[in-house]
Amino acid sequence: MADQLLDAKGLNCPLPILRAKKALKELPTGGTLEIQATDPGAVKDFEAFCRTTGNELLESRVDGKTYIFVIRHTG
């Protein structure tokens, strides 16, 4: 289980990323954030976001129509 859950379902680019960034900022270093999104573009975008910011993408999977990402706040 991640430390915090962010429901970004129904939101379109760039809102899932912006909301995730905001949530990560409030997490202590090492904390984990689970993001649930329905925007298919979020898959590539969270990879790029994590590569650029240095946060760690622990998980990226699909559950039905929901894309689930788990990010560790390291960036």
């Binding site: 129904g10 939101l11 379109n12 680019c13 760039p14 809102l15 990323i17 912006l18 995730a20 960034k21 925007d39 976001f49 650029t52 910011t53 240095g54 960036g75």
Partner: protein, 164 residues
Amino acid sequence: MSSEANAKSMSLIVTKGTLDWAYPPFILATTAAAMGLEVTMFFTFYGLTLLKKKLDLKISTLGNPAMQMPMMGMHMALPNLVSAVPGVDGIATAMMKNLIKKKGVASIEDLRAMAIEADVKMIACQMTMDLFEYTMDDMIEGPALGGAASYIEVATKSDINLYI
């Protein structure tokens, strides 16, 4: 944002003030800021209206043949002759706003507020302010006034420079 590990930077020249064209600069600015970049937006000509306190953004189908709106399972573009009919732009704007809401796309007001919150620097073009007779009282709080030289100084130090 400068305290973040990624100290890259981006500048954008924002020249257009219609509802559709307001999206690219604000989406890129907010996302870049979220990714740790230092972002500066330079608002000039019609882009300057995006800094007004109260936004009343519209789109026009006139001279925009690539704009195809989804309608009843199809996509519809409007010929210029129809676009010129009074009221058509209003209908197109209402349709666009409806789509934006339905598809979970942020409003420009929200994206602008998020840009400010993320410390995106904004410069209002002094010359355009004079040309179109605006004062800083018409504008939201935050933007600085500046001219071409102010932008160029930022651009020489930025990793990404975009003209939109």
